[in-house]
Every structure is written in C-alpha cells, then in structure tokens.
C-alpha cells in the first residue's frame, strides 16, 4: 500500500520565486491497483510520481510505502519514463539484465530470465541490438522489461507512451494490460490522456492545474480483462471519458481565471 500524506512541493525558480507545484495531496493506493494520475501539463502529476519513487523529497508531508516513509529510490518501486532512459552502451539484453545483476542474481539465471522478459514484451530476436537501433515503441518495451526484471512491487510509469505515435501507443497499452493482468502489480500511471487513463485504470485521480490539487477520484468499474474494441463501444466507458473530460475542462478554466 502506498500512502501519500498531506504532501506539498515548492520549487524555487530562478529569481527567488517560489512555485507551488503540489498543494496538500493525500492519496492511498491499494496493493495491486492500477491507478492513473490525470491532469493538464504543469499540474505536478509527474512530481507526485517522483516523490513516490524517492527521486524528489517533498517540501511538506510524507509518502509511505508499506507503512515506511520513503527516503530514496529502491528496487521495490520501478520507474518507466517517457524518455525511456535506457543505457545506450548496453544492448537490449544488457539493459534488461542490469537490474537483476545488480541485485546479485547469477549471470546465467539473469540471462535466462531477461530473455523470457524480452520475449514477453515482444522483442524476441532483438536481444543484441543497441537502443539507438530501435524505434521509440521498441525502446519503451525494453524500458518496461528492464524495470520488470528486478521485480518491483510497484510500477511507476511517467507518461510512458506520451512520446509515441497513436498506433504504437495503442499497441503498447494493450500489451501493458496483458502483462499487468498476469501478475497484478501496483501501478501508478501518470498521463494526460483521458482515454488512456480510463482504458487502463481501476481508479483515475483527476488533478487541477497548478498548484496541483486532487480534484476528484473516479473509480472505473469496467470489467477485466478489457478489450479495446469492446470497450470503445461500451456506453459506460464513453460515460467515464466524457465525465472526466468535463472535469478537466473545468480545471483548465479555473487556471485561466486571474
């Protein structure tokens, strides 16, 4: 379980201006839940994810994982970034093996596990390619496999499909759901796409424009496993999308008021 307890984040910008990125956020994420954080750009949703990752420490408040305050990054929380952040000097296999090897898994075992994971994300045959030789979608598949390889209990996904074209994005969403439905890790998924959030999540946390506050939490009660083609025709799905889009429109207008 992840608890975010009255967390605020203030950034000092140049010229000594203080920018309030997150304002008094409290949120609880149950184990095994797929939770999306949705909001307009600049609402601090990625910052919230970085706080859970331990990459950024909150100015006020505390975030806990399994009851313990987060003080830094750890292999129990695996990030997947929009920028992929692969190690370019390592091959696909080298990247995926990196985490397990760091955790002390024997080379032969890490090799076998990593090859299985690479196959699972659909990249069999590309084990010896370097990241530079891969397309964006393939890179993100490698990044996902690299993070899954060290078995984090929580996946932290920071707009992972934001840099991809629509077609690739859809394919990766489907594959992510398939993978997730197998082992039901806790997923915290940051996005600005309403469709994506509704399609993937159990819960969508809608945030307001800066300073980021939680506007509303929407439980998505759609059956699983979800099939995209069925869902798009499902009136319940459409209702969620419209409902959440309206919320976002409201928050945008809030932001525009002086």
């Amino acid at each position: 379980m992840i608890e975010i307890d009255h967390v605020s984040q203030i950034f000092r910008t140049s010229g000594r201006q203080a920018h309030l990125a997150l304002s008094d956020i409290s949120l609880t994420i149950e184990d095994g839940a797929f939770v999306s954080i949705l909001g307009p750009s600049g609402c601090g949703k990625s910052t919230l994810l970085y706080i859970v990752g331990g990459f950024v420490s909150p100015t006020e408040g505390v975030a806990r994982v399994k009851g313990r305050a987060i003080t830094g990054p750890g292999p129990d929380r695996g990030p997947v970034f929009q920028e992929f952040a692969l190690f370019p000097w390592k091959t696909v296999l080298g990247n995926v093996m990196y985490g397990p090897r760091q955790q002390g898994v024997k080379a032969a075992e890490a090799d076998a596990q990593s090859r299985r994971l690479i196959e699972m994300v659909g990249l069999k045959g590309f084990e010896n390619f370097y990241p530079k030789e891969l397309s964006g979608g393939m890179k993100q598949r490698v990044a996902l496999a690299r993070t899954l390889a060290y078995h984090p209990a929580v996946l932290l996904m920071d707009e992972p499909f934001g840099a991809l074209d629509a077609h690739t994005r859809t394919r990766l969403q489907n594959d992510l759901l398939n993978i997730w439905e197998r082992d039901r890790k806790t997923v915290l998924f940051v996005t600005h796409s309403v469709d994506e959030a509704v399609f993937l999540s159990d819960k969508v946390v809608v945030m307001t424009r800066a300073p980021g506050r939680i506007k509303q939490i929407v439980d998505i009660e759609l059956p699983r496993p979800r099939r995209r083609a069925e869902l798009l025709l499902d009136p319940r799905y459409q209702k969620y999308v419209v409902e959440i889009e309206r919320m976002i429109d409201d928050t945008s207008e809030d932001g525009l008021r002086p």
Binding site: G53, P73, E83, F87, W89, Y130, K132, E133, G137, M138
Partner: protein
C-alpha cells in the same frame, strides 16, 4: 568500387600533394634554409637508422605516454565530479578558465626552476597540456548525462559512487574520448616544445640542434617524422575510440520500423 578505392587512397594522395607543393615551393624560393621535399624525405632513413636518434625519439614517446596516462587518471575523475556536483564545479571552473588559455610551454622555464631540466619537468608540462581538454570534455559529458538514467540506476539499487562509475562514466565516454583525442595531439605538441626549451634529449632536441647547426634537411626530416607520429597515434587512437563507443556512432542509428 572506384569511389571506394579512391577514398581509401585519399589520405595518401593528400600527403603526396602536400609534398609536391613543398617541392615546387622550395625549388622556386631556392634558399638553403628550405630544402626540397625530396631532400628532406631522403634524410629520414639516416635519422631512423641512427641508434642515438632512435633512443632520443623513444625517450620522448616514453615521457609522453607516462604523462598522458597520468593526465587521464587525474582529469577524467575530476571532470566527471565537476559535471555531477555543482559545488565541485564552482570550485574548479574558475581555475580551469584561468589556466586554459595559458600556453603550457610558457610555464616550462618556471617549472624547470623547480624540477630541473630532466624528465619530471617535461612530463609535468605534457600532463598540464593534456589535462585541460580532458577535464573540460569529461565535465561537459558528465553534465549532459540524463537525470532519469541515473534515477533508473538508483531504483535498481546503485549507490552514488556506483552510479558515477557505472552510469556517468560510460554515458559520458564518447565526449571523454573526444577530449582525449585533443589531449593526444596536445601531448605531442607539448612534448616537442618542452624539449625545445629544456634541451637535453628527445625528438625536439634533435630538431633544434639540427637547426642550430644549419642542417636543414635534418630539421625538415624531423618535422616529417613528428608529423607521421601524430598521424599514427591519432589513427591508433581513433581505432580504439570507435571500438569503445560503437554504440553511439552516427550512421548506426537507422531505427527499425516496428512498434
């Protein structure tokens, strides 16, 4: 096929072209202090056949190799730390800015007062000459390392020193090696100039002794030898570099069309 043969031969043709211009220029000027290319090239074997000269040249190379290696061991870690720590950078950056434009050979007389005219003084000058570009490029390389790559490493359990050696160093390697290549050329230049000032032994010493004695063919032959050493070292280094950073080479990056 023809184009490939031609591009293979291009460096050779360039050298021959340069020698031809030299030959023509020297015939036109017709002064004793500017021997023709043919005369200079003819003097090369007599230098390389002379035991004393070969020992001198090898001595130069030995000093250069030691100073170059020491400079890398000092400059790469310093540059990487500057790139990752604002404190370290703000301390060393001004020092770097002051020392960068100073011609290192200009320090030679002062260094000779401290360390004498022997190996140590010359190696220190080469060390300084090599260090600065290597620090600078390591600094730039480390600064450009993507934060999220380091975060990914931290999540896998890499400690700060481990991230430095296992993420910052390889990620910055292409940039570091660019600095090393500049450093290598500077090492050769400072090697010769150091021997020009502290005349005792070495390739530079042969050159300037010959100049004093008016043996101009030897002077120019030495220039050819030093130039050839430069080309050889650079080519060898380039071979090593392209092997080490094959993963970052351009022309390598034709992405596959696959989701």
């Amino acid at each position: 096929m023809m184009a490939r043969v031609l591009s293979r031969l291009a460096p050779l043709l360039a050298c021959l072209g340069l020698l031809a211009i030299w030959q023509a220029g020297s015939l036109m000027l017709n002064t004793e202090s500017f021997p023709t290319a043919i005369e200079a090239v003819r003097a090369v074997p007599s230098i390389l056949g002379d035991r004393e000269s070969v020992i001198n040249i090898l001595d130069s190379l030995r000093r250069m190799a030691i100073a170059f290696a020491a400079a890398l061991l000092f400059a790469i870690p310093l540059g990487l730390m500057m790139g990752r720590s604002r404190l370290v950078a703000s301390f060393f950056n001004p020092l770097l800015m002051i020392t960068y434009p100073v011609p290192k050979a200009a320090l030679m007389p002062i260094i000779m007062l401290w360390l004498g005219v022997g190996d140590l003084a010359k190696m220190l000058v080469i060390f300084l000459g090599v260090s600065l570009p290597v620090i600078y490029h390591s600094f730039q390389g480390a600064k450009a390392v993507e934060e999220k790559m380091l975060w990914s490493g931290a999540a896998m359990g890499l400690s700060a020193p481990q991230r430095m050696i296992r993420i910052v160093l390889p990620a910055a390697l292409p940039e570091i090696l660019t600095g090393c290549r500049t450093g290598l050329v500077l090492a050769l230049i400072t090697m010769v100039t150091s021997e020009m000032i502290a005349r005792q032994s070495g390739a530079g010493n042969i050159l300037f002794n010959a100049l004093d004695m008016g043996q101009y063919d030897t002077v120019y032959a030495m220039i050819i030898i030093i130039g050839a050493m430069g080309i050889g070292l650079d080519a060898a280094f380039e071979k090593l570099r392209s092997r080490l950073v094959r993963w970052s080479e351009p022309g390598f990056d034709i992405p596959l069309s696959f989701a």
